[in-house]
């Protein structure tokens, strides 16, 4: 608030009042429909924020030279939100994992059944945890690599808090049974529309900040963040086109039907992986990994090759989710071949990251933060190899519909997405709060091992169960008839479901340790001198080594 002028505070208040009014209108139109409940949530959320704005409405004006410094407050809040969603999403993950082993853990209520909770997990971790981390780090990276302050005072808040409103609407919707049942796009039409508004603002903000840059060239990390923002917008809009039952109904019918819907859905779904869970996090990696390692990027040309390879090839691969289905065979073949070609740019990125560590391997050994990022690059390479492998039709005939997919997902989601995020946050947090290091290096170390153990247990359990399941479904007796019934395969899954829940629990514990450590870093450690150097107009620091924490 202290960073906003009073006219900006008025502006913010107006936006919030408008949002509150939208909430009231939704509540009135929706009445007993969940749409009305969501109206109330929008209202409460807006009024709560309005209260915050008004409470410091008459606070002193900000420094007049605020444009000469970076805008870091939204980033700090973004990190906090990201960690909160991490705990929520992973707790949901552990809970649903436990439900598959012990089904009575749904406690016989409607809202807590597996089908309703599962999307709260996926949305919570992908959008809540991942999305907030992406927004926060993108704000940080774009400012630092452009040597320019964010091109807006309110819009960063609008993007961040608007995005979180979307996540809240999505997750509360699922437990009430509001869903479009499109994987990773389950939120209903009005939340989708809201996300479009937020995302367009994000896009404009990002582009305007880049336009202000004092560096002649746009750094690789920003290429990835831009691809993430632009392509997710396209995917989101096309996949979510729908007709609501009425303006007071949460329910809508997607305009796509049957086989075309399947293709659009997996064009979206696969590229949500590509541009949300890959591009954005590669942007993160391209900044925080060389920063932390204090090493130059291994090869600029490799960066170019992998960036355009990923941006072009990924968009063709979605049909590998529909092998052997009623989708025409020719589309499946396109998806398969492009998935195989996609491995080259994917491995090029992973290799570029690992080779960047040349000359810094001693740091990897000693510094758990850098080790997080190193392991992330390894898992990135591993899960993309696995992905390309699973995309080959005969392999997919075994793996599809089984836990092998879930193993692959979490090799990517835990090993890559979460590891790179934690590594980046441990680099970013001390820099942002102007501390010289995290509160406790030992706790970073503890987190690292909990996360690694959790990931390995999870992934190995699911590889085992998936392959066993896939094999049992297609095992034939000597007489040429199927050997196992479906329930036979279900019974074989239970030990692995228990192991997975345990691995997930370890991973969740690690995230809790991280929360504590970040909290203590932000609260307790004293400021260090010299941090004022972190300003947009600082001359290029030729000759001086970059500070390890930043």
């Amino acid at each position: 608030m202290t960073e906003l002028t009073s006219s900006e505070r008025q502006y913010a208040a107006v936006i919030l009042v408008v949002m509150a009014m939208v909430g009231v209108a939704m509540a009135a139109l929706g009445r007993s429909d969940p749409f009305g409940v969501h109206g109330v949530i929008v209202l409460v959320y807006s009024v709560g924020l309005l209260f915050l704005v008004l409470s410091s409405f008459y606070a002193p004006e900000p420094r007049t030279d605020r444009q000469a410094s970076y805008y870091d407050d939204p980033i700090k809040v973004g990190i906090a939100l990201s960690m909160a969603w991490a705990v929520f999403g992973m707790f949901m993950g552990v809970w649903i994992a436990a439900q598959l082993a012990w089904p009575t853990l749904a406690f016989d209520a409607a809202w807590s059944t597996f089908g309703r909770l599962r999307p709260t997990h996926t949305t919570g971790v992908i959008f809540g945890f991942g999305g907030n981390a992406l927004i926060a780090t993108s704000f940080h990276v774009v400012q630092r690599t452009s040597r320019a302050r964010l091109a807006g005072q309110i819009s960063p808040w609008f993007v961040l808090l608007g995005f979180n409103l979307f996540c809240i609407l999505a997750v509360t919707g699922y437990v009430m049974g509001v869903t479009q049942s499109k994987e990773y796009a389950e939120a209903e039409w009005y939340a989708d529309l809201w996300l479009v508004v937020v995302w367009v603002t994000y896009f404009i903000l990002y582009l305007r900040t880049l336009a202000r840059r004092k560096e002649p060239h746009i750094y690789v990390a920003n290429w990835y963040y831009m691809a993430f923002i632009v392509v997710v917008a396209i995917l989101h809009i096309v996949n979510n086109l729908a007709v609501p039952v009425s303006i007071g109904h949460a329910k809508s019918y997607t305009i796509w039907a049957g086989v075309q819907d399947a293709m659009v859905q997996w064009w979206y779904g696969h590229n949500a992986v590509a541009f949300f869970l890959t591009s954005g996090f590669l942007g993160m990696m391209y900044y925080y990994l060389p920063k932390r390692a204090g090493r130059p990027i291994f090869s600029y040309r490799l960066s170019i090759l992998s960036f355009w390879g990923i941006t072009f090839f990924y968009m063709w691969a979605g049909s590998h989710h529909l092998h052997y289905t009623a989708l025409p065979h020719w589309v499946q073949n396109l998806g398969m071949t492009f998935s195989v070609m996609l491995l080259v740019p994917s491995w090029a990125s992973a290799g570029n990251a690992l080779l960047t560590l040349n000359g810094a391997w001693h740091k990897v050994r000693d510094d758990a933060t850098l080790r997080f990022m190193m392991v992330a690059a390894v898992f990135y390479g591993l899960s993309t190899f696995e992905g390309s492998f699973l995309a080959i039709r005969p392999v997919n005939s075994l793996s599809h519909y089984t836990d092998w997919t879930i193993g692959h997902v979490h090799a990517g989601a835990l090993g890559w997405v979460a590891f790179i995020t934690f590594g980046s946050l441990y680099t970013l947090v001390p820099a942002l709060w102007k501390r010289d290091a995290m509160h406790s290096a030992a706790l970073v170390e503890v987190h690292f091992w909990l996360a690694l153990a959790g990931t390995l247990i999870y992934v190995f359990a699911m590889w085992n169960s998936g392959i066993i399941q896939g094999l049992m479904w297609r095992t034939y007796t000597e007489d040429g008839t199927l050997a196992y019934s479906f329930v036979d395969s279900l019974i074989a899954m239970y030990p692995y479901y228990i192991a997975r829940a345990f691995g997930g629990l370890l991973f969740l514990l690690g995230a809790l340790v991280a929360c504590y450590n970040i909290w203590m870093t932000a609260r307790a450690t004293p400021l260090i001198a010299g941090s004022q150097l972190d300003l947009p107009d600082r001359r290029p620091a030729t000759g001086t080594a970059p500070s390890p924490a930043e």
Binding site: T113, V245, A257, W267, W316, A326, S397, F486, V487
Partner: protein, 250 residues
């Protein structure tokens, strides 16, 4: 030198964004657009019928409860899939599905041809608590469905919205939607003849949840489960024509 050109686009944010959009658009266009122009993508099935209002309501409950998270509705063109679940799924079978529910995970078995496989009573017992009939099951219990009355007031609007997105519901169907929902679940009532008349001889009229006097969400969900795979016979005809093999489901 390729990177010389790249050096240039690296200097303009707008140019870079346009390049990204160009590179990212091709794949989707080439794979999606032809699905509308290549005629054989969706097979012909003259006998294909529409979901009745009750079945559509059941489908919405199936979505709401996230059954698709554990159950696929897509029998693949693989020997073991066909031998376990029946003829492979055709595109036309989900022609009226907004959205499709093909699924991506089989924690439970495929349901594409579950219609008619079990009795209504079995479905009710199973949904109330799957472990009562399948002790090994990890499926959640859905007891609340049986005690939640089905809201039928907006069924006309539901069908109208489906018509907006291309499903050929008639004015007559839309006007009688709520009544048809009731009729399908109350055999021998005045309303049941109308459903059959509007949706065809093969429409199943039954007291799905076992209680004919009131309409619950259980009625709707079971009605939907019982119609899965039975909107058209096309898949059976297709396999019969293409292979003429005995014991195909062996």
């Amino acid at each position: 030198m390729p990177e010389l050109f790249h050096r240039k686009i690296e200097r303009t944010a707008i140019g870079f964004v346009l390049a990204i959009i160009a590179a990212a658009s091709v794949g989707g266009l080439v794979e999606i657009a032809p699905l509308f122009t290549i005629h054989e993508t969706v097979e012909e099935a003259p006998d294909m019928r529409l979901y009745t209002p009750l079945e559509l309501a059941g489908r919405n409950i199936y979505e709401r409860e996230g059954c698709y998270a554990c159950h696929s509705q897509m029998i693949r063109t693989l020997r073991d899939d066909v031998e376990r679940y029946g003829p492979y799924s055709l595109a036309v079978e989900s022609k009226y599905d907004h959205p499709m529910l093909w699924g991506s995970k089989r924690t439970g078995p495929d349901l594409a041809r579950i219609g008619g496989k079990y009795s209504d009573l079995w479905h009710v017992t199973h949904l109330m608590n799957p472990r009562d009939v399948v002790p090994e099951s990890n499926m959640p219990s859905y007891r609340f469905l049986a005690r939640t009355p089905l809201e039928t007031a907006d069924f006309g609007m539901q069908l109208a919205a489906m018509r907006e997105v291309g499903v050929p519901y008639t004015d007559d169907m839309i006007a009688n939607a709520a009544r048809d929902a009731l009729g399908q679940a109350t055999p021998d009532s005045d309303f049941s003849a109308g459903v059959v008349e509007r949706y065809g001889e093969k429409t199943q009229v039954s007291a799905f949840d076992g209680v004919a006097t009131e309409l619950t969400e259980m009625d709707a969900l079971v009605a939907y489960l019982q119609v899965l795979g039975r909107l058209t016979d096309a898949a059976y005809k297709q396999t019969a024509a293409s292979e003429k093999a005995p014991g195909s489901q062996q």
